[in-house]
Amino acid sequence: MNIKLTQAATACFLVIAACGATASSHREAPFITGAPKVDGTDFYMFRSYEGVSSNGTGGRSDYVTMIANYQPLQAAYGGPNYFQMDPNALYEIHVDNNGDAREDLTFQFRFKNTLKSIPLSIGGSSVAIPLIQAGTVSALNDPNLNVNETYEIKVVRGDRRKGTVSSVTKDTGPSVFEKPVDYIGTKTLGDKAAYAVYANKHIHNITIPGCAVPGRVFVGQRQEGFAVNLGTIFDLVNAPTAFLLNPANKDAVGMGGQHTIQKANVTSIAMEVHKSCLTAGAEPVIGAWSTASLRQGRLINGSPASGNDKAEKAGGAWVQVSRLGNPLVNEVVIGLPDKDKFNASQPKDDGQFLSYVTNPTLPALLGVVLAGDAAAVAPINLPRTDLATVFLTGITGVNKPATPTASEMLRLNTAIAPVQFADQNRLGVAGEVLRVGGLANLANAKDLAGFPNGRRPKDDVVDIALVAMLGGLCVINGDNDGLKLNSIPGVAGVTSMCKPSSVPLGAQSADIHDAVDQATVPFLNVFPYLNTPNGGS
């Protein structure tokens, strides 16, 4: 029986991982696969750990970093146009600071591509070149850039469409921000160190109206930081089973942070904002999520005028087409018929998706497919109050606001100090509780600043999600409901028995990994944290 369970657990894990292998939110819903420029892929939010001391103070520790990634799986050699943001799109980061599932602050990003039409004289005729660069590039607004990409930022207080709108500016006054060109290659932009110097020129100090403390912003290409055993899993889980249950092999195919997906790039919108500018009153917990929207009306022009971005005319209201808070939700929780609906939805309306969380199909489906028994690996505490708590309200004593409204977003307790990169537990809060030997020893924990209390680049959210799906949190919750996972905060009348005996896999549920260790992926120890992108040559 142990062998059967082990095999089932392995297969279960692999299929869950396969679902996650569309990556955190890369190409996860039918519609968004056709609109990669607005495909939100990952969202991070954490207390900044740049320059912090071992006790979590100093440096940038009083700031919160939010990173919204878009445009998945960029091949570094993707010229000649590379990966500009969509000038006809609206990219947003929303913050709920009172637990009512409605945004109180929204940061809006709009992009603009300015074509210079740099010409060459060919036989006496002035002819525009076909490339986005006319030579080497190293400076802000470099004269050799044929397309200059810039953006503006608005902060909206209140409803994202009806609220009060103000412009975010550089601390020197201008409201237009420069974005670095993608890492075309070493001949255009120099080696990786040179590109890092160039990219860092695009970290802007910002003034946010209504915020007394300046922040920082960076928008540009980064190395893909999300780690998952991608191609192997898609190929019918083409990996030895024994590797996947042995903790010693947690990075067996990760190649020390250089797995296949790390050879791709993404485009990051990174902001660092003082925590006092994000919180409200005495409530330290904030919830946040990223979105992208397109104009409702889009006409393809059969006779586009000369210029840049002339092939489409867009108008009407903004229509949200991408949404991302917690990783993996739209992949492994929301059913296929509702993935586009989820991307268009707002947290305040998440009641429509509740059954996907409380009564998840995946564990039972995996049991049927892999073990011929729907009950083989699925925790029996239905409705799954543990998953609902993690995804929809936050965990009591960790990241639950005082009065939560059940809704899906990434929640961060800004009162919990950041932890230096080297000391961060790759399995987040659950990993730290396990490390100290359970809830009884929680006082010995030194890192409760990881997922699901926000999300840092190092947090291995695939492994954490696997542990949660298979009931690992109920093992931690124990027989005495130590994490208050037997109910859903703010939701009356929904209870379960989230305890070890409800978990078919028992303590083994905490050992699962996908053989690619997120913690080995290279990151920066300073803003914008995600690594310098891969070059095209």
Binding site: R161, K162, R295, Q296, G297, L299, I300, N301, G302, S303, A305, K313, A314, G315, G316, A317, W318, V319
Partner: protein, 79 residues
């Protein structure tokens, strides 16, 4: 049947745009008059385009069409 003023504006704009786009006799004709479609009339305008096209039509000339933008509206329902 009575129309609100805003509805009449949308209807009129859609009709004008269609007449321009279709050149009075099918898709592909070149429009000669600038048309501004109000943001509140985008869906009606598109539905009218859809109703007047076919697989063998050439693209409607939209070079003089402007689709108005609205940053404060919620998306219109699509019937």
């Amino acid at each position: 049947m009575y129309f609100k003023k805003s509805q009449l504006l949308v209807l009129g704009t859609v009709c004008a745009a269609l007449l321009t786009a279709c050149g009075g006799g099918g898709g592909g004709a070149v429009g000669s008059t600038a048309q501004v479609v109000p943001a509140s009339g985008i869906v009606a305008y598109f539905n009218s385009l859809f109703a007047n096209t076919s697989d063998d039509a050439t693209p409607v000339d939209i070079s003089l069409v402007t689709l108005s933008e609205d940053d404060t509206a919620e998306p219109a329902d699509i019937p």
